[in-house]
């Protein structure tokens, strides 16, 4: 594993402006990913995971604004790039597997045509024949019959479609893939096999990945490093084993508590009363303070600092769990 950072996100802050006010969906988030590394982003629904994913591709709706921060992809900051420039980096350097794979394909074209079109756009030197061969190989890799290339999306089952989406994401040899809850909509058995497929592929192609899920078990399975999100902020970031053995942030701790063992039965998040805050009016200071058992005086006044706890373990909390 080389030490070169494929992507570096520094102090990313993004808001949606709505009629009721601004939604602070991503606040001051930083992380970086090395080649071949898989970062898992975990957090409850609505904590801004998808917003981060879409910011990375700058694929945001009209009402979204990146307030500050840098997204350095292969040494180049994407944030100031105009749309037409950004477009060329998409898929060739950074691609995405969407949350709703069911409708990720246009119903009126064959799946093959929709993948070829990406290859044609970013790799104009590849002939149509070679592109086809490449797609057929990708299909084999993700466990689809090569004949499926010429089929229409409605001829695919949900699981097959998700595999095809993965094949499409790989089609232009990106440096990094973002997978946003790629298996959430699928049934458990399919979910498992696709998850394995993704990890195998990622290892084999030595690709970087951001894997997003609300499910700690899934994250534990696929990622080398885990970032825990709460209410638009990253509260803890560490290597996977480290964070499971030694969670520092009270929220991470509670999250881990609800999954005593990755393979064991799932328990409810009993330790945490209350609900995640409304991002229209996020709480002052630490956004977790209304629910936090460790809460101290300054928690509702000052935003906790992002501190290094050694071993590449970072956390933002004024009163962390005891460190054994």
């Amino acid at each position: 594993m080389s030490t070169e950072n494929v992507i570096e996100v520094k102090n990313l802050t993004m808001e949606y402006s709505t009629r009721k006010g601004n939604v602070s969906a991503v606040d001051n988030v930083s992380f970086s990913i090395k080649r071949g590394q898989a970062l898992g982003l975990v957090g409850e629904s609505g904590c801004g995971k998808t917003s981060i994913a879409k910011s990375l591709l700058k694929l945001l709706p009209d009402n979204a604004m990146i307030q500050q921060g840098q997204i350095v992809l292969n040494g180049k900051d994407m944030v100031p790039l105009p749309e037409e420039e950004m477009r060329k980096h998409r898929w060739s350097e950074i691609s995405m597997v969407f949350q709703a794979a069911m409708n990720a394909f246009n119903p009126v074209y064959t799946v093959g045509d929709q993948i070829i079109e990406a290859i044609e756009t970013h790799l104009p030197d590849v002939s149509e024949k070679d592109a086809r061969v490449k797609i057929e190989n990708l299909f084999r890799m993700v466990g689809l019959a090569p004949e499926m290339v010429d089929r229409y999306p409605h001829e695919y089952s949900g699981g097959m479609r998700q595999r095809a989406v993965i094949a499409m994401a790989l089609s232009c040899d990106p440096d990094i893939i973002i997978a946003d809850e790629p298996t959430t909509a699928l049934d458990v058995i399919v979910q498992d096999s696709i998850l394995k497929e993704i990890t195998t592929l990622q290892d084999r192609l030595n690709m970087s990945m951001v894997y997003i899920s609300h499910d700690v078990a899934v994250i534990a399975e696929v990622s080398d490093r885990v970032g825990v999100m709460y209410a638009g902020r990253m509260v803890e970031l560490a290597d996977t084993e480290e964070i499971f053995i030694r969670p520092i942030h009270p929220y991470t701790y509670a999250l881990m508590q609800s999954f005593p063992s990755v393979t064991g039965p799932k328990r409810e998040l009993v330790a945490l009363p209350g609900e995640p805050p409304d991002l229209l009016h996020p709480p002052k200071g630490c956004r977790f303070h209304p629910r936090c058992p460790n809460r101290i005086e300054k928690c509702d006044q000052e935003q906790p600092e992002w501190k290094d706890y050694g071993d590449n373990h970072f956390c933002a909390c004024w009163n962390p769990m005891e460190i054994n």
């Binding site: 998409r90 246009n106 009126v108 756009t121 229409y152 409605h154």
Partner: protein, 395 residues
Amino acid sequence: MWSYIGKRIVQMFITLLLFQIATYILIDLQPGDVTDLLIGNPDITAAERARIAADLGLDGPLPSRIWTYLTNFYTGNLGVSMQQYPRPVSEILMTRLPRTFTLFMAATILSFWLGYIAGKFLAWKRGGAWEYASTITGVTLFTIFTPLLAYILLWLFARQLDSWISDTFGIDFDLPISKFNTPSLWRRAPYDTNTVFSWMNWNFFAIVMIILIALIVSNYIPRRYRPALRIGSVVLSIGGSLIWWAFISGVGLYAWDIVKHLFLPILTLTLISFGGNMLLTRTSMLETLREDYIETARAKGLPEGVIRNRHAARNAVLPVWTALVFSLSNTISGGIITETVFSWPGIGATLVQSVSVSDFAVAMGALTLIGIMTLIGHLIVDIGYVFLDPRIRIH
């Protein structure tokens, strides 16, 4: 797919039969019979009238009269016009059908295509003065009293623009305000207007077929040659036809006269249907732009134009195509009015004219033809949809 089309055709034929029976009964309801118009005709005696009535089976009971009418109809005998006695109705209608057909096809294709282009761009460039102006234009065209629109266009083009062009450039464009040809010109012509017009229609048909075939074939060839084939088929077929008419046919001047007569009616009818098509395409496009696959297309880094045309518009066209069924009947109504205003001797004007003199043999023929035209239109829409949407085509 073929069995589906076959079933549709059978279903439509039954609908047509029922429709004919219904119209026959409707016309039969009124007192007297179709031969009453002949009472005023000094050339025809009462005895002869009775013979005509007997020929038409008018003395039998209703079911047998309907039977006679239907068998006659399907053997090509639509009766004779009582106003232009004894000219056969089928002859009258057959000379007029191509004119209506051309007007209708040209206006339908143009308004669909223009409405599609306009709606597509309006949805893409949301908001601002354009959206406002286009909505007003669309609603105005959709709701304006058709004769008023026709007269405004007549005045604008045939009066104002025409005199402006001749004042400024000294060219006498002479845009005609009514009828089908300029009789003084055609007196010297080697062929009659209907002949030249039918050549033009065949030519038009050939162009449409060439483009259609090119479009279908283009889906089976390597992608990089597709645009060349598509654009090439359009340019070559239209350009070639123009060159043939202008330099080779020898009747270019006469064809031009027909074109000049066609211009305003086609423009009017196109505008009538354009508004609805534009508004609908815009709405449909706005909905399509919210689909997940549009976001995928963006994520793939495809150029704007490709996302708009190949992904969004291609899907947005589906509901607009389906709605053609309703817009077709709008266009036909509009066509009846347009033909009447421009004295364009087609089926619609024939219907109005024959009804106003109670020549019901002709009126019934015209009404049935209009019905058949609508049914064929519906069939084309159905078949077209099968090609447009692979979810229907491939189960």
